[in-house]
């Protein structure tokens, strides 16, 4: 009897599991559809001419992608420059931000000194304060430093990134054995050398995740750059998109409009497909261990 009961309940358990699995796949399918459909529609529309676009949506792409892109690059909006500017700013921001945030986390994690916990508390307390609330003072400062139309005020401030710091500090707490550092000290390695050669490589998964997060937020950033960059050749892609929006867009060739949006979105998607291993794998490998 007892044996029969367990068998029956195991069978029904595996049945409910199958149902739950099916529900999960269906929901995931619907959600994936809503994530991807926009980019599919964007791709289709970017390949069609203005006249074709006027005739409503089709499922199959047309043949005018090259033409749209050519028109875009010969148009009045400096897209090529915008792309280079955006790439440069976002890459340098990701690099500086993660390197120095790891360094700050390392200072709090590894050393003991007076005021350490006060500083840690302070960084966590200011962690959430948005940059926008100091934008006014920031513009005034940049103007006084004569750094308008310069990339420095968009890159250097990312060195003090409390959220990146917090993530890295948490990862470090469970993934950086202090005995390793002590061993390196006994081997006569300098403190900066230990940080660069031992701590940084061990932090790689977390750094990769944060580098992507930082790159994305810098790449997406429209608010601050639009206050700092005024010269057409210095503008980043988000500012150019805003410019496109504020122009009397109906006069535009819609094929070009879609090509411009596609141009600012698809390169990132392509790069992401290669890097997704780091973000998905990186988070699942490390994450917040207690």
């Amino acid at each position: 009897m007892a044996v029969n009961n367990t068998m029956a309940s195991e069978k029904s358990a595996s049945n409910t599991l199958r149902v739950r699995r099916t529900v999960a796949y269906v929901v995931l399918g619907i959600i994936s559809f809503f994530c991807l459909i926009w980019f599919y529609m964007l791709f289709i529309n970017a390949t069609r001419s203005n006249a074709e676009l006027g005739q409503g949506f089709t499922v199959i792409p047309s043949t005018h992608l090259g033409e749209n892109l050519k028109n875009l690059f010969h148009g009045t909006i400096p897209v090529g420059n915008g792309m280079i500017n955006s790439l440069l700013i976002a890459s340098l921001t990701a690099l500086l931000s993660t390197y120095f945030s790891t360094m700050t986390a390392y200072s709090i994690q590894v050393y003991n000194y007076k005021g350490k916990n006060a500083i840690f508390t302070f960084i966590l307390a200011i962690m959430m304060i948005p940059t926008q609330v100091t934008a006014l003072g920031f513009i005034n400062l940049v103007r006084k430093m004569n750094l308008e139309d310069n990339f420095i005020p968009l890159i250097v401030p990312s060195i003090a990134a409390p959220i990146t710091f917090f993530y890295l500090k948490q990862y470090m707490a469970s993934n950086l054995p202090l005995s390793l550092i002590e061993a390196a000290r006994i081997d006569g390695e300098g403190e900066l050398g230990i940080f660069n050669k031992i701590a940084l490589p061990l932090m790689k998964p977390a750094i990769a995740v944060q580098a992507i997060f930082t790159f994305v937020s810098s790449w997406n950033n429209y608010f601050t750059p639009s206050l700092i960059l005024h010269e057409d050749k210095k503008k980043t892609l988000p500012i150019l998109i805003a410019q496109l929006r504020s122009a009397d867009w109906l006069k535009f060739d819609m094929g070009q409009v879609y090509a411009m949006i596609a141009f600012s979105i698809f390169p990132v998607i392509l790069v992401y497909l290669f890097l997704s291993k780091y973000i998905v794998g990186g988070v699942t490998a490390g994450g917040v261990k207690e």
Binding site: C35, S107, K116, P130, Q132, L141, F165, F166, E182, G286
Partner: protein
């Protein structure tokens, strides 16, 4: 903990001096952060506070001020009445987006981390749901603007399918404009939230789930009684960071409505308001608005700090 004590507990005076020397590196490694923080955050903050106390704006081409007027800008800001309206807009659009966002994220992260379900193609799904977060918000808003236009493909498809009889002007109606902003925010952030929550769920010991399974707990019970309570710190972190992010809402409504916040400024957010003041060189009012935003976000950060981050500081003490 005990290991680290072994490393740093001095055994004699000579060694103690050596350790002090080592610990000096702690200060050195802090320098870049502190320097950049003081120059690019603290000085601007003080400057913003200072500016909020001065009458300073452009009247046509003529510059008025700066004249010291104390709290005059704050009084004016409250009396004009727009502030409450824009605060309301921002919060409504945040809530509309956050509720589906957190629901989907909790569900997906529970599924992905469930050892019983063993979902296939997880890598694919995670890649897909995180994708919208990478998309430049302004480009995404521009895309939605063209897609949901009266002549755009969404209207075209809906008419073809017989759902709409005639094109619906999404951006001329309050509900659909706010709905679009909320939908885009949800779409862009639920993948990110899922990944954060998953990291938290992976931290829950597997034997807890196994024990619950042996005791015959249903998946619902496991979720509400084990996963959620143990997830509390990271959940609160997600909630407050999202709220603070919501208060910063700017790119999507700005591009979607071309900075107008139309219809009738019902999708104008606080930061769009600030941006407007900054661009018209209305520095007194911009300063006062910034300080108010600083106070609100400051209070919110303090809450999250007391609930989660403070434990981190305690943990770090040794």
């Amino acid at each position: 903990m005990s290991k680290s004590n072994l490393v740093l507990v001095p055994t004699n005076k000579a060694k103690s001096g050596q350790i002090d020397k080592l610990n000096r590196w702690g200060y050195i490694f802090l320098i870049p952060f502190m320097l950049v923080f003081i120059v690019f955050q603290l000085i601007p903050l003080v400057n913003t506070l200072w500016n909020s106390l001065f009458e300073n704006y452009m009247s046509g081409l003529k510059k008025v001020g700066p004249n010291f007027i104390g709290l005059g800008n704050y009084i004016k800001l409250f009396q004009e009445g727009d502030l409450a309206k824009y605060f309301g807009n921002t919060i409504i659009m945040w809530i509309l987006g956050f509720i589906p966002q957190i629901t989907i994220s909790l569900l997906l992260s529970a599924w992905f981390t469930n050892p019983m379900l063993r979902l296939k193609c997880q890598r694919f799904f995670k890649t897909v749901i995180y994708l919208p977060n990478l998309i430049m918000a302004s480009a995404f808003a521009m895309l939605f603007f063209t897609m949901f236009d009266t002549t755009g493909p969404v209207n075209g498809l809906f008419i073809k399918m017989g759902i709409f009889k005639e094109p619906y002007a999404f951006l001329l109606h309050v509900g659909s404009t706010r709905g679009l902003v909320a939908f885009m925010n949800c779409l862009m952030w639920f993948g990110n939230t899922t990944i954060l929550l998953m990291a938290g769920m992976m931290g829950i010991p597997v034997d807890l789930f196994e024990a619950a399974d042996v005791d015959g707990a249903t998946p619902g019970q496991v979720f509400w009684k084990i996963t959620l309570p143990l997830l509390r710190p990271i959940f609160i972190y997600v909630l407050i960071t999202s709220l603070i992010g919501g208060l910063q809402m700017f790119d999507v409504p700005q591009i979607l409505t071309n900075g107008s916040g139309d219809p009738m400024r019902t999708s104008m957010t606080l930061i769009m308001f600030l941006n407007k003041h900054l661009f018209s060189k209305n520095y007194g009012m911009a300063g006062a608005l910034s300080v108010l935003l600083l106070i609100v976000t400051g209070v919110l950060s303090f809450i999250v700090f007391r609930m989660t981050a403070q434990d981190e500081v305690k943990k770090n003490r040794r």
